[in-house]
């Protein structure tokens, strides 16, 4: 096996298919730890990880924290609500103060695209992107892929529809990179006002959800990010649900064993009908377990080894 060469995880875009494979395989190997009577292994004992969250996040932060604890890393979480961030301290000053504690890794969630790159340039620690602006959310895409692979046995050749607010979605960007790298057929669907220009270079775009869902092995629903909606991208939640929401009737156009994924939190009755969200094809709970396994794999690969070659 080749060494995992990256020092940071800033996005899926820069990973090769082999590196994606390595992360997923490692996550598969690590998932078993979560079923043990004592869910703790000493792999990262003595390592310090700082979770620096500038945006509210329950599941991603909790998932990283659990992964860190399972691997015995010492971790510390800082969120906007409890830090000096609200006193107007710059990102760089905050990061430098944290660096004084000599962490091995900083996991960052930030509303500005590129904030993890900025830290990677100015800090010594390994940087993991836990979601930056509308850029990428690599661990979310990895956990989605792990779930798909687990349920379908493969990624190559799967037909995956990604539906919803493409414009503001970092989850979409990471997923498109990952799935297309791994040979899945991705189709994107949104009202034209929520399609970022040029995205069709990565995957075909349709504005008809029926067309997108037709024959799909998996449908990934993206959250309508109301907090980022500054100016009438669609006329009303009612019309959005009617024209672009995933209803049971639409879900029935997909393959019988279709998987429905949603990065959460959901706007029930807008992008997804409750009956679908709670339906039999929903794998939202598997996503939670896989989220921890994927983050364990990332921590393990970035912190568990050095770049030195074996003699």
């Amino acid at each position: 096996m080749k060494a995992y060469p990256h020092r940071h995880l800033l996005g899926i875009e820069e990973l090769s298919p082999e590196h994606v494979q390595t992360i997923l395989d490692t996550a598969d190997g690590l998932r078993e730890v979560l079923d043990r009577p004592i869910k703790k292994v000493p792999a990262l004992r003595g390592k310090t990880v700082v979770n620096l969250f500038y945006e509210p996040s329950t599941r991603t932060r909790a998932s990283f924290e659990v992964a860190e604890k399972v691997l015995s890393a010492d971790s510390l979480s800082i969120t906007t609500a409890t830090s000096s961030v609200q006193k107007g301290e710059t990102l760089l000053d905050t990061a430098r103060n944290l660096e004084a504690m000599n962490p091995d890794m900083i996991v960052i969630r930030h509303s500005s695209s590129g904030a993890p790159h900025f830290l990677a340039r100015h800090c010594r620690s390994a940087i993991v992107n836990a979601g930056d602006g509308a850029h990428e959310h690599p661990t979310q895409a990895l956990l989605d892929a792990l779930t798909l692979r687990q349920k379908k046995g493969r990624l190559k050749g799967l037909r995956v529809a990604i539906v919803g607010d493409l414009l503001h979605s970092r989850v979409m960007r990471s997923n498109v990179w990952l799935l297309t790298k791994m040979g899945a057929d991705v189709v994107l669907c949104a009202p034209p006002t929520l399609v970022p220009p040029g995205i069709e270079a990565l995957a075909p775009v349709t504005h008809r959800i029926d067309e997108a869902v037709e024959g799909a092995d998996a449908v990934m629903m993206l959250r309508i990010q109301r907090e980022r909606m500054t100016g009438g991208f669609y006329p009303s939640d009612r019309e959005y649900h009617l024209r672009f929401g995933l209803t049971a009737a639409r879900a029935a156009r997909a393959k019988k064993d279709v998987l429905i994924l949603h990065p959460g939190p959901m706007n029930r009755g807008v992008e997804i009908a409750s009956e679908v969200a709670d339906g039999p094809y929903s794998v939202i709970l598997d996503q939670v377990t896989n989220g921890v396994a994927v983050r364990m794999a990332v921590l393990y690969l970035l912190l568990g080894g050095s770049a030195e070659a074996v003699a």
């Binding site: 875009e13 710059t90 990102l91 760089l92 930030h110 500005s112 695209s113 590129g114 904030a115 790159h117 900025f118 990677a120 340039r121 100015h122 930056d132 602006g133 509308a134 850029h135 990428e136 970092r170 960007r173 970022p196 220009p197 040029g198 995205i199 270079a201 500054t230």
Partner: protein, 427 residues
């Protein structure tokens, strides 16, 4: 230094007179005395053999930041940067704090420039009071105090009605109206060019159509009013096309382009990993826009090259990309970039470059200079076409370090700058 200076042995390139030949240049008492064989008697002789002697370069678009943001730049440091970059005159944009919308501020700038300036400073007044886009400023007073044009640069004049009044009223004082062409609602929240790169980076984009539609509007209004409009930092193919058509119709429209828009594209934002020294407004555009801009430079649609020198304090740039200030410094890199990447690359020849940097800017705003004709100001830029330049922002005279060109190796650069017959810079 003596009042009489003889620049001996150089190649004179002066497109205003159609000259490109070896000639000596005699300067006396702040004006050009003679070209060609002149008596060197009593003159200090400066050997410029192997060098190119041009009429002084004029930058129509510079942010000197004083008054108000002396942490970013001052008239002293900005004009030293200009001298080091080969410019003998700069036009100072009015978006200072306070905005240069009154004669008192114009006079303050000129007083500071006289006291500390290394090169000539021509203030530009505001189009509207406070550059708020609502009421036009006192152009009569501004003109009398020394303003050479009006502009609300940094922001567009959103209201067509206000812009029309500005064009009309400015005619009374023969002022050109310089517009920052950007449709504000389309550019809201944007930090780079709209397109595939912005999509991949997850940054909000500023569409090229937003520039073009305001250029179109301004051309139509200049046509309607008979006023003179100058398009600042043209950056798009569509915008260039609008200027080209306006010129063909005989509308009084001129345009400038910056070295960065002609040499860089939005892909640099990605390649640099969100380096904030790639963030400016208008943003770096697509490759097809860049090529169209070079074509506009060749065919005369673009009248001059200006830097949009926009120095910032380190903290304004050392932060998240979408929170970083817009703008890059340009005075100390422009000439070397143009010599290497425009003349060296065969986009334009040297006489055309000198026209773009000297003769045309002088003509666009009716400034003195832009020529070495006897009797004109003894403002001279001497170029060394062989000089190796390694761009090192840490060594800039400017307070700003925000340049995307750091580390670039270029061939050719300014060798000497003379203002009013005095040497203000030697490489």
């Amino acid at each position: 230094m003596k009042e009489r200076v003889l620049l001996k042995g150089g190649r004179v390139v002066d497109p205003s007179q159609g000259i490109d030949e070896p000639l000596d240049v005699l300067l006396d008492s702040g004006v050009v005395e003679a070209l060609g064989k002149a008596s060197a008697k009593g003159a200090e002789v400066i050997d410029v053999s192997g060098l190119v002697v041009c009429p002084g370069f004029i930058d129509l678009h510079v942010h000197l930041r004083e008054p108000g943001r002396e942490d970013k730049e001052t008239i002293a440091t900005g004009t030293r940067a200009a001298a080091a970059g080969g410019f003998t005159a700069v036009c100072a944009m009015p978006n200072t704090e306070p905005v240069n919308d009154q004669a008192g501020i114009t006079r303050f700038i000129l007083d500071r420039a006289r006291a500390e300036g290394a090169v000539r400073v021509y203030p530009i007044g505001a189009i509207t009071k406070g550059s708020m886009g609502e009421e036009i400023a006192e152009y009569g007073d501004l003109r009398e105090a020394g303003c050479v044009a009006v502009s609300d640069d940094g922001r567009p004049v959103a209201s067509a009605r206000v812009f029309r009044r500005a064009l009309e009223y400015a005619k009374a004082f023969d002022l050109t109206v310089i517009d920052h062409c950007e449709e504000p609602t389309l550019a809201q929240g944007a930090s780079m060019n709209e397109g595939p790169v912005a999509t991949l980076l997850g940054l909000r984009g500023n569409p090229s159509a937003g520039e073009a539609m305001i250029v179109e509007r301004d051309v139509l209004l200049a046509d309607l009013t008979g006023g003179k409009v100058h398009v600042a930092h043209l950056s798009t193919a569509l915008g260039a096309e609008a200027v080209r058509r306006g010129k063909a119709r005989g509308v009084r429209v001129t345009a400038e382009a910056t070295p960065h828009h002609m040499l860089l594209t939005d892909s640099l934002v990605k390649e640099s990993g969100y380096d904030t020294s790639t963030k400016m407004n208008p943003p770096l555009r697509s490759e097809s826009d860049r090529e169209a801009l070079l074509e506009a430079l060749r065919d005369g649609t673009v009248d001059c090259i200006a830097t949009d020198h926009a120095p910032h304090a380190v903290d304004d740039k050392k932060c998240e990309y979408d929170l970083a200030a817009f703008g890059i410094v340009g005075l100390e890199t422009a000439v070397a970039l143009c010599l290497d990447r425009l003349v060296g690359a065969g986009v334009v020849d040297l006489p055309r470059l000198v026209a773009l940097l000297s003769t045309n800017p002088a003509r666009v705003l009716g400034l003195p200079g832009g020529t070495l004709a006897p009797g004109s100001p003894a403002d001279v830029t001497v170029l060394d076409l062989a000089r190796k330049v390694k761009v090192d922002p840490a060594r800039f005279e400017s307070r700003g370090r925000n340049s995307p060109f750091g580390g670039w190796s270029l061939k050719g650069g300014p060798a000497m700058t003379l203002v009013g017959g005095r040497v203000v810079f030697t490489a």
